[in-house]
């Protein structure tokens, strides 16, 4: 039984660490708006690109700040690699002025992505 217990513990540690890493990708300084009626996210497309826009209009992907030019390069690369159906999610802070969100959206449309999703909180825990 001992080797089995060893393996099970290894697996537990692996899963706990990967869940933690996934959560660390999300910037907790961004306070999302509430949308109690929005469709819940059930399964994530692995191609999804998540763009963070904070209340000062700074654009980032996975906590890594990007200039507009860099973001365009990233989005263009995503379109070339995964096609025009690549899902884009914009996580905008609720106090962000619309023109900051517009900048991020315009870069997506310039790169050829016209379907955009806005992240919101359905149920707060």
């Amino acid at each position: 039984m001992t080797p089995m217990i060893d393996i099970v513990f290894q697996m537990i540690i692996f899963f706990v660490l990967t869940v933690q890493m996934e959560r660390d990708q999300l910037d907790e300084r961004i306070r999302l708006a509430m949308s109690p009626h929005g469709p819940a996210v059930e399964q994530r497309d692995p191609r999804t690109v998540t763009i963070d826009v904070d209340d000062d209009g700074r654009i980032a992907i996975g906590r890594f700040p990007l200039s507009e030019q860099r973001l365009f390069t990233v989005m263009r690369a995503a379109v070339v690699q995964h096609g025009q159906t690549t899902p884009v999610v914009i996580r905008g802070d609720m106090d962000t002025a619309h023109h900051h969100i517009k900048r991020a959206m315009d870069i997506c449309t310039r790169a050829g992505l016209f379907r955009i999703k806005f992240a919101a909180i359905k149920e707060a825990n």
Binding site: I12, A33, M34, M94, A97, F114, I116, K117, A120, I121
Partner: protein, 138 residues
Amino acid sequence: MGTRHHRRKKQVIEAELSMTPMIDIVFQLLIYFILTFEPTDVMAHLDVFRPAPDSEPREQMETPNVLRVVIYQDGFTVNDRQMRLPEIERTLGRLAAIDQNQTVLIMATAHSRHANLIDILDLCAKVGLRNLSVVSMN
């Protein structure tokens, strides 16, 4: 004969695993995970269509059959009439009852809060409208 019996008994004893230390550790781990657990929020993704920035917004503005919701810093208008959220919900609900695939044009001014846009998108999701275009205005 007698010694053989004795040896077999000894082997059985060696193969036993003492559970107490393992249970101690498992309980420690359990307590650690319960204490550090924080529930995550359920997320929603609101799907919209974003027309290309160089396409003529004027053309869409003047299409008579499209419902136009404009988001200002301090309120909303629907087809140029000022409305509050409950009123907008009723209007959108009436539209959805006719055709859920009807396009709704959502126009946000430059300094409007993102939360207001999410409010409108949430209402559209509530009544079941699917074709939403988000356009920016100056």
